[in-house]
């Protein structure tokens, strides 16, 4: 009987119908290409390198996913990371490490709260609000730091990154746990499903009695807090807090979320897709470095790949009539 082949076919078309699977395919294809082009790409050393490079952008992309799922956007994450990094650097001069980190994360959350209230409660456009916050946060980063990097970070900070747990670096482990928690939250909790419903049809969500206001603000708060967490890992590696830190990070994060299949209109997207998007971004950067491509050309390469990925995606959707 042909049922076997047809179920296999159904299974396969069911798989390809899922955007994450297609993007995973893209990620694998890129990995294969790069490993052919560069023998160094698929070494254990480089894979750890890739994971390590994914941590900072990956953390920021989780917050960005939440914001984009509600139909918003957070352009301020890079600047908030820069500002909270300076806050962390200054706090470390006076407080023990955990207190200093908590202080930085709360600062990031507070900035997010302001953006969230301005967009969700006052109804201002998220693009404009976070653009304003982006400028303010960057300027405060320079003012707080006195225009210079803070380099006397306690050595103990690096334990956050370089402690191995069962052979896995702690920063990579954190990333994995964060994605697991975010995935579970978005899939299995009231709040997660409300975030999807708000992004998909805000009016219907409100009419069904959901708490639209709270769950429209929450993603911005988490996005701000996660920007601070991300910069904490970055400072722990560099042992220096730079007011220019996190520059243009918002672009990488938005690109990762969009490559991962999220709709900028909200309601559509997934945390797994975002993770794949992050890997695609990091692999391309890493591969171009390995291949010795001039850093000036890297922007063009990454930009083209993002646009081509989305274009292909749109063409596939047109063909399947969605």
């Amino acid at each position: 009987m042909s049922t076997n082949t047809s179920t296999a076919k159904n299974f396969f078309s069911g798989l390809t119908r899922r955007l994450e699977i297609r993007m995973l395919g893209l990620a694998v294809a890129i990995a294969i290409c790069l490993s052919i082009l560069s023998p160094y790409f698929l070494t254990a050393n480089n894979i750890f390198n890739l994971l390590d490079q994914s941590v900072v952008i990956g953390i920021v992309a989780v917050g960005m996913t939440l914001v984009i799922l509600t139909g918003g956007i957070d352009l301020s994450v890079g600047s908030v990371a820069g500002m909270t990094g300076i806050v962390l650097g200054l706090a470390l001069q006076q407080f023990p490490i955990p207190v200093a980190i908590l202080f930085a994360v709360l600062t990031g959350a507070g900035v997010g709260l302001v953006s969230g209230i301005l967009t969700a409660y006052f109804g201002l456009a998220a693009f404009v609000v976070t653009l304003g916050v982006m400028a303010i946060a960057r300027s405060l980063a320079y003012i707080f730091s006195g225009q210079t990097a803070i380099s006397n970070i306690p050595e103990a900070m690096s334990n956050i990154v370089y402690t191995d747990v069962f052979g896995i670096p702690s920063n990579v482990l954190f990333l994995v746990l964060l994605y697991a928690v975010a995935w579970a939250y978005l899939t299995y909790t009231k709040g997660g499903r409300t975030i999807y419903a708000v992004g998909s049809n805000k009016e219907a969500a409100r009419a069904a009695g959901l708490n639209v206001l709270f769950y429209s603000i929450l993603p911005y708060v988490l996005s701000g807090a996660l920007a601070a967490v991300a910069v904490t890992f970055s400072i722990a590696q560099l042992l220096s807090a730079d007011p220019l830190g996190g520059n243009q990070m918002e672009l990488d994060a938005i690109a990762a979320v969009v490559i991962g299949g999220a709709s900028l209109f909200g309601g559509r997207g997934s945390i797994i897709g975002t993770l794949i998007g992050v890997f695609i971004m990091v692999m391309i950067r890493n591969g171009l470095n390995l291949l010795g491509v001039s850093p000036f050309w890297q922007g063009s390469a990454i930009g083209s790949i993002i646009i081509i990925a989305l274009l292909v995606e749109r063409l596939v959707n047109w063909r399947s009539g969605r």
Binding site: K190, A197, A204
Partner: protein, 634 residues
């Protein structure tokens, strides 16, 4: 009628026909909006285009203005076939639409809006020339100084915007202007002013189509009327003077009544069930002015009225979707004050909104999640808590006949009827005390319609108080035990279905621009003279009371506001029959009945004053003078 037609237009009746439409048909998907529409329009006339909700008036208007392309039929305009399908071409031919919801650009000035179509033409604009032309047009409308040309349109009143729309039509030198419900947002004096303008345009030799539900106004301004029903023209270009209000309503409703719903629901016998939802003097301006009604346990109440009467807005105000300005909402006797839907849900109210796609469906969630959406809102925990509803959900899926194997599909791939059932199930899952449904069978196929009616009866039988908003009077009469009629944001009648038919319902639902003013007038009348004053429409053997106020309780005319009665069933039959300009005494009452006419001489019904026969009676002339003063322009 044809004979009188000929006598009015003895010669060349055909030569001044500006537009003729024959056998026009149009379908939207499966819905046949127009089947066999006809219209004949002459220069120098105001032509009323009438019909119930969904009769096809707007579709026909939009076909004439080329907003919509017809499927079949011929339209000749000034002797040549009208074959364009762009609105710009129609404008160039001199066909313009003054829409109810204005199509103005709110951030642009009055001047720019008047000449907006000019911006689509090539070449340079001379603002000085435009300014001169604008003043000239407004002057022709008699409003040269009333409208500052540089003011932004968003700062204008509804009436002023209407004026800009008209000026825009005139700027194009339109020969044929369609006014689509132009008076909906105007006050009585503004309506009079609009009619002056329309009369002036008519006398200029233009042809005007006046689309309206308002029978008073139809009589006030139109020369001939065309009446539509279910996409067909049922009365073609009949002179208005040869018709009465009831004639028009009969045409609009049709003769073949009560065939689909042969069974009127049995009135609840014996004990009256307790009131679950009580709404008193609800107001949420501008759409909701003063709405009161109550729904009993196990009852299906109908909220009838025309589209735009404020019913949906009232439901939204009750549900916390719209800010309220006044009024009391009680659930089982306890006052609630919902400021957001979550409050209303907590109090036990569910709302199945009118626009499923916009207000109910979350497209990116599965059918199952859409079903459980209200549950998520009501759920207190951190997780989803789907398990606690599992049994109830399974039972609902079974009883509503939902496809259990397609729960993970996209809800948008379901038929309209199935979508509606899912949205209903969303609320039923929470076991509400009150379920309000706004146009529950809109976009639902006939087969599913019957099953939705069945479901509503079952829900009511389980003790839920059900309120159904519908513009389909047939549906209301077949489904409900009681109907509250809402017109112009005010609840004007509360009647058991057994006392109603489609005709009476249509007559009651027709908005009357003069209602508020006349009710106030009755109040003053009884304050000055005592007794009971009423405003009513009289037919040969019946009377429909539109409004009544009493200074004392001991005078009972037998009339009730919002109710229709046989003359003999009232306490003042002789007075109502004689309609004499003096007091008629019978059974201890003296009743004066005087006709009320608008400034343009159209019939606004009758004003009655009933006093004890043994007291002193005021002079009829004084009251007649007061009525006349009321209708003189303010």
């Amino acid at each position: 009628m044809n004979v009188s037609n000929l006598t009015i237009q003895p010669q060349s009746a055909a030569s001044n026909v500006v537009l003729e439409a024959r056998d026009v048909a149009k379908s939207f998907g499966k819905t046949r909006a127009l089947v066999d529409a006809r219209l004949e329009l002459r220069t120098g006339e105001v032509h009323g285009l009438l019909g119930a909700n969904g009769a096809g008036k707007s579709t026909l208007s939009r076909i004439i203005t080329c907003h919509v392309k017809r499927d079949a039929g011929e339209i000749t305009y000034r002797g040549a076939p009208l074959e364009t399908n762009s609105t710009r071409d129609a404008l160039r031919l001199g066909i313009a639409l003054v829409a109810q919801e204005t199509t103005l650009a709110p951030d642009m000035s009055v001047l720019e809006n008047i000449f907006l179509p000019e911006l689509g033409r090539p070449g340079r604009l001379s603002f000085n020339a435009l300014r001169r032309r604008a003043s000239e047009i407004l002057g022709r409308l008699g409003h040269e100084h009333a409208l500052p040309l540089d003011m932004e349109v968003r700062r204008l009143s509804a009436a002023q915007r209407q004026l800009v729309e008209i000026a825009k039509a005139l700027a194009l030198d339109a020969n044929l202007v369609i006014f689509d419900e132009p008076t909906a947002s105007l006050s009585p004096s503004e309506v009079e002013r609009l009619f002056d303008i329309m009369a002036r345009l008519r006398d200029d030799g233009r042809a005007l189509i006046f689309v309206s539900h308002r029978l008073e106004e139809v009589f006030a301004i139109t020369d001939r009327v065309t009446i539509m029903r279910e996409g067909r023209t049922v009365a073609n270009a009949v002179p208005t003077t040869s018709l009465t209000q009831s004639d028009i309503v009969r045409h609009m409703v049709g003769q073949e009544l009560n065939t689909v719903y042969s069974h009127a629901p049995a009135a609840v016998a014996g004990v009256v069930a307790p009131v679950v939802l009580e709404v008193k003097n609800l107001s949420a301006p501008p759409a909701v002015r003063d709405i009161s009604f109550s729904v009993h346990r196990g009852e299906i109440l109908g909220l009838g009225g025309l589209v735009g009467a404020g019913r949906s807005e009232a439901a939204e105000a009750i549900f916390g979707l719209r800010p309220r300005k006044g009024g009391v909402i009680k659930i089982e006797g306890r006052e609630i004050n919902p400021t957001k839907p979550a409050d209303a849900v907590k109090a036990g109210i569910g709302l199945v909104a009118e626009d499923r796609r916009v207000q109910s469906i979350v497209p990116d969630l599965t059918v199952r999640e859409n079903l459980l959406l209200a549950h998520i809102g009501a759920h207190r925990g951190f997780g989803l808590g789907y398990a606690q509803r599992e049994k109830k959900l399974a039972a609902l899926i079974k009883s509503l006949d939902l496809p259990a194997d397609r729960l993970d599909a996209n809800l948008l791939t379901f038929s309209g009827g199935m979508q509606q059932k899912v949205v209903m199930a969303r609320w039923l899952l929470l076991e509400p005390k009150v379920l309000i449904l706004d146009e529950p069978t809109k976009g639902v196929d006939i087969g599913t319609r019957a099953s939705i009616y069945g479901i509503l009866r079952e829900i009511a039988a389980l003790g839920v108080a059900v309120a159904v908003i519908s513009s389909d009077f047939e549906e209301l009469l077949g489904l409900c035990e009681r109907i509250v009629v809402i017109s112009d944001g005010t609840s004007i009648a509360d009647l058991p279905t057994t006392m109603l038919d489609e005709e009476k319902l249509t007559l009651l639902a027709a908005p009357r621009t003069s209602t508020a003013r006349n009710t106030e007038f009755l109040r003053k009348l009884t304050a000055d003279f005592g007794g009971t004053a009423f405003w009513a429409l009289l037919e040969e053997n019946g009377v429909i009371c539109l409004s009544q106020t009493s200074a004392t309780t001991d005078i009972d005319t037998g009339l009730r506001p919002g109710e229709a009665r046989e003359l003999e069933a009232t306490r003042i039959p002789s007075a109502l029959r004689q309609r004499a300009p003096s007091f008629v005494t019978e059974a201890g009452y003296a009743t004066l009945l005087l006709p009320m006419r608008s400034r343009r001489g159209s019939d606004l019904g009758w004003i009655g004053l009933t006093l004890p026969a043994d007291g002193s009676l005021p002079s009829p002339d004084i009251i007649a003078a007061r009525i006349a003063a009321l209708n003189a322009i303010d």
